[in-house]
């Protein structure tokens, strides 16, 4: 006791630091396979207390598990109820989602450990398998849920987009191609027989109207809403459309968190306030909704998970805006230096993801447009001079994005 008193008196700061780190370390170590099992933990280089801090950052508090068991039990009960209805399908779904989570892990680790094309392609093959498995499970699920719905149509990812049979001759296919710039060959993009589920039932607006790509002026955007991340923030601040269109954007949003966050909303008159996506969609009726999301989640999840989340967002937009044209904007590429130095944020992955989301377009009321030809060189790399950080356009280069939007708008083709 005397010794401790002496220690405290002599080394106060050291003692306080040691005393405060002790509970954090214990919490981290005890929770490492429970509360914090989702976090990577390498004790050799990382103290246990980092787990607690990462948890706090993600809203997982150490005292959280005191309340957790109750919730889990409730969930369990609910799960049992529904299990009676769903029988084996539910379990299958769970298994698949678990698998897809583990695949994410593989992809991230593989991507982090090496930037070599070999490893990246292995990871993407993994993603492909998951995609397939998951797609099938969705099919089964909807069959089980509603026998009246006709069998979900799935088409190969490399099929022609749109519905060629219903588009009259003379109207060009209004969906832009997701350019691969020869950096990704088709075999790599869609390993073996990857199938993207194109069940867009409920997303479609009225039939019978056909559109084509054509040039427009600024007034076209008077009823447009742009949803996106910091790149769209830049478009709002430095583009020429800010006086016409409405914007809903914020730094660091991605398809996984965009629905939960409050974003900065700027309406057509230039007034701004915080809004969630849902609030902004309820606020008024838009003629066009442009979506540009995808750069923040390049290191998160697989391409298929990204695609699925993107699709959920489109479904939400369609729910609130049944008559709007939806534009999927392909992810803008990054510069060559950035692409080469980053195992996740590179143009190969971007091409792959653009390809996946381009399949969500249907050529009737959902379109895929791609600005990359306006800002990239022949290799598909963002031109270095146009960007200060290799990821965002410089203020002086937003004019190119504006131009791509104005030259590639959907106009009615009677």
């Amino acid at each position: 006791m005397r010794f401790l008193q002496m220690l405290w008196k002599k080394y106060t700061l050291l003692c306080i630091l040691a005393l405060t780190s002790l509970p954090l370390t214990i919490l981290g170590w005890t929770g490492r396979s429970g509360l914090y099992s989702g976090y990577e933990f390498t004790p050799l280089t990382q103290p246990g207390l980092t787990l607690v801090m990462e948890g706090i950052h993600d809203g997982v508090y150490p005292w959280g598990d005191m309340f957790k068991p109750k919730e889990e039990e409730a969930e369990k009960g609910a799960a049992e109820d529904s299990a009676a209805l769903l029988t084996s399908e539910g379990a299958a779904e769970e298994a698949v989602s678990a698998q897809s989570e583990s695949e994410t892990g593989t992809e991230q680790t593989a991507a982090a450990s090496t930037a070599s094309a070999g490893a990246a392609s292995t990871a993407s093959a993994g993603a492909g398998t998951t995609a397939k498995a998951s797609a099938q499970s969705t099919t089964q699920y909807s069959e089980a849920e509603d026998a009246e719905v006709e069998k979900v149509e799935t088409i190969p990812a490399n099929a022609v987009h749109g519905d060629p049979d219903t588009i009259p001759d003379g109207v060009c296919n209004p969906v832009m191609q997701a350019e691969d710039y020869d950096v990704v060959n088709v075999a790599f993009l869609s390993p073996d027989d990857t199938e993207y589920n194109t069940d867009t039932e409920g997303i479609f607006a009225k039939n019978g109207i056909y559109f084509m790509l054509g040039p427009v002026d600024e007034t076209y955007f008077a009823d447009a809403l742009f949803i996106g991340d910091s790149r769209t923030v830049g478009l709002c601040e430095y583009g020429s459309l800010k006086e016409n269109a409405a914007f809903l954007a914020k730094e660091s949003v991605n398809v996984y968190n965009v629905l939960d966050k409050e974003l900065w909303f700027t309406d057509h008159d230039g007034e701004g306030w915080d809004y969630t996506v849902e609030e902004a969609l309820k606020y008024e009726t838009y003629g066009k909704v442009y979506v540009a999301l995808g750069v923040n989640e390049l290191g998160i999840g697989t391409t298929y998970m990204y695609y699925e989340k993107y699709r959920e967002l489109l479904e939400l937009i369609r729910e609130y805006q049944p008559d709007a044209l939806i534009y999927i904007q392909g992810i803008m590429h990054v510069s060559e230096n950035k692409s080469r130095s980053d195992s996740c944020r590179n143009n190969t992955v971007i091409c792959q993801r653009n390809y996946a989301i381009s399949t969500l377009a249907n050529g009737r009321d959902i379109y895929y447009i791609d600005m990359n030809p306006y800002v990239c060189n022949a290799n598909g790399d963002l031109i270095e001079d146009l960007s200060g950080d290799g990821i965002h356009l410089k203020a002086s280069a937003y004019e190119r994005w504006d131009r791509s939007l104005m030259e590639n708008a959907i106009v009615i083709g009677e």
């Binding site: 106060t12 976090y39 950052h57």
Partner: protein
């Protein structure tokens, strides 16, 4: 590179090293320090640690030949060894600087500019007879390689940290003070310098041609503060570690932004580097004792070399040149005025130093010119400037700018240092430590935090 502000250093390397260091009997502690330092260096620089070891041994051997026990005259033999040593040290420094500047294939080894300067000063001190006791091998290798200083300085001198008299004492007081300075430095680096870096990157992201003039000035101030908080913070951490291990505190920054004039600023900024150039270049060249013309020439030489030491791109040359001109201007033209009205000296520092840091920061000359056009908009107009950009950034970054500005005045710092053993300050430091660790954890688990789009 193992940074002091990394989790691995804070929670693995440093505590384990300290335990081993303190349970080892005092006379073997240097050996532990040497091996710990080599491990530390190798973890950051890999096989370059071999280069450091070889250079250390060569310098030790040559140093033994340079050292002359009898005070009187320098023998031919000593002279030859000294020239060989300088040739090897300065030669390899110049060679690597030039090669790494010209090609991407050669990388300047970690801390190269710092430890080679230490080696040169060691040989010069031996040659001049300023080191009176023959250095033994363990002191020498520890001096060159010690991990608190090997990667980013300060450029500690043999005589002023207790090597000369072997007066190294581990004490409770020194340990506590060392820990205090370490945590203080950590906070400056993580909680101030890093957010300010984000602001500076934000300006690059917009593109210099499109920033408003107020934002351009905020950028210049921001970069000046960032560099200060980063480097001062680092120096405090290094000095703190040194104190914990039993060395003297190495002074590297003496409130430079409180200086009266540019020359005064550089006596206070990165003081160990300035003193090195003064003692081993400026004074041997004759200093200011050989007439006005030679003084001007000597100042130019020193500042051009200082510029090149930082990097061999043209902007560093301009940076050094501009500083030389400013210092000459102060010395010969407005010197009297400044001593009568110190405010002129302060204004020099507050207005001109940030501008020189802009030259320091922007390596591309075309971009540099554009930035100056935005600082002084009568030379040209920007492209697609958003006049609201200043307010947007100011709203986010004002707390970091404000606290950094407060730390530029000596008063706040002195107040904290004076009360460092009092409970409120200890509690504040505890908070600083944990918030810093939290920031480090979040940025480590999310390496793209600073690039959150």
């Amino acid at each position: 590179m193992v940074l002091f502000n990394s989790l691995f250093f804070l929670f693995r390397f440093f505590p384990i090293f300290l335990i081993v260091y303190f349970i080892t009997p005092a006379r073997f502690r240097e050996v532990i320090l040497f091996f710990g330092s080599i491990i530390f260096y190798a973890m950051g620089a890999g096989y370059m640690a071999l280069g450091l070891t070889v250079l250390t041994i060569i310098n030790y051997i040559l140093g033994q030949m340079v050292f002359s026990a009898d005070k009187g005259g320098v023998k031919e033999k000593n002279k030859r060894a000294f020239y060989i040593a300088i040739f090897i040290d300065a030669g390899s420094l110049i060679l690597f600087k030039v090669l790494s500047g010209l090609t991407d294939k050669v990388v300047l080894p970690l801390g190269f500019s710092f430890y080679l300067f230490k080696m040169i000063s060691y040989q010069a001190d031996l040659f001049r007879g300023e080191i009176t006791r023959r250095p033994d091998i363990i002191d020498t290798v520890v001096y060159f390689t010690m991990f608190p200083q090997v990667t980013q300085g300060p450029i500690m001198r043999w005589n002023n940290v207790g090597f000369e008299k072997r007066e190294r004492t581990v004490s409770v007081k020194a340990f506590n003070d060392g820990l205090f300075f370490f945590v203080l430095g950590l906070g400056m680096k993580v909680l101030l310098a890093d957010p300010l870096s984000t602001l500076w990157n934000e300006i690059g992201k917009i593109g210099y041609e499109s920033i408003s003039t107020p934002l351009a000035w905020m950028g210049a101030v921001c970069y000046s503060l960032r560099l200060y908080m980063d480097f001062w913070g680092y120096s405090l951490m290094a000095a703190g570690i040194g104190m914990i291990l039993g060395f003297h505190f190495v002074v590297n920054f003496i409130h430079p932004y409180w200086a009266c004039g540019i020359a005064d600023f550089y006596r206070r900024w990165h003081a160990t580097l300035g003193a090195w150039f003064r003692d081993y270049i400026y004074i041997p060249l004759g200093g200011s004792r050989k007439g006005k013309l030679r003084t001007v020439l000597n100042l130019l030489v020193v500042w051009v070399l200082t510029g090149l030491w930082h990097g061999i791109t043209p902007n560093f040359l301009i940076w050094g040149g501009v500083l030389a001109v400013l210092i000459i201007w102060e010395k010969f033209v407005v010197g009297g005025l400044i001593s009568r009205f110190p405010i002129i000296g302060h204004l020099h520092v507050w207005l001109l130093i940030p501008l020189t840091w802009v030259i320091f920061a922007i390596t591309d000359l075309k971009d540099l010119l554009i930035y100056f056009e935005r600082l002084f908009p009568f030379f040209g107009s920007g492209i697609n400037v958003n006049t609201g950009d200043f307010m947007k950034q100011a709203m986010v970054y004002w707390p970091f700018l404000l606290v950094s500005l407060l730390l530029c005045t000596p008063h706040w710092y002195r107040l904290i240092v004076k009360n460092r053993r009092k409970m409120p300050v200890i509690l504040i430091l505890t908070a600083v430590f944990w918030i810093s660790v939290y920031r480090i954890v979040i940025s480590a688990s999310n390496p793209f935090m600073y690039f959150s789009f």
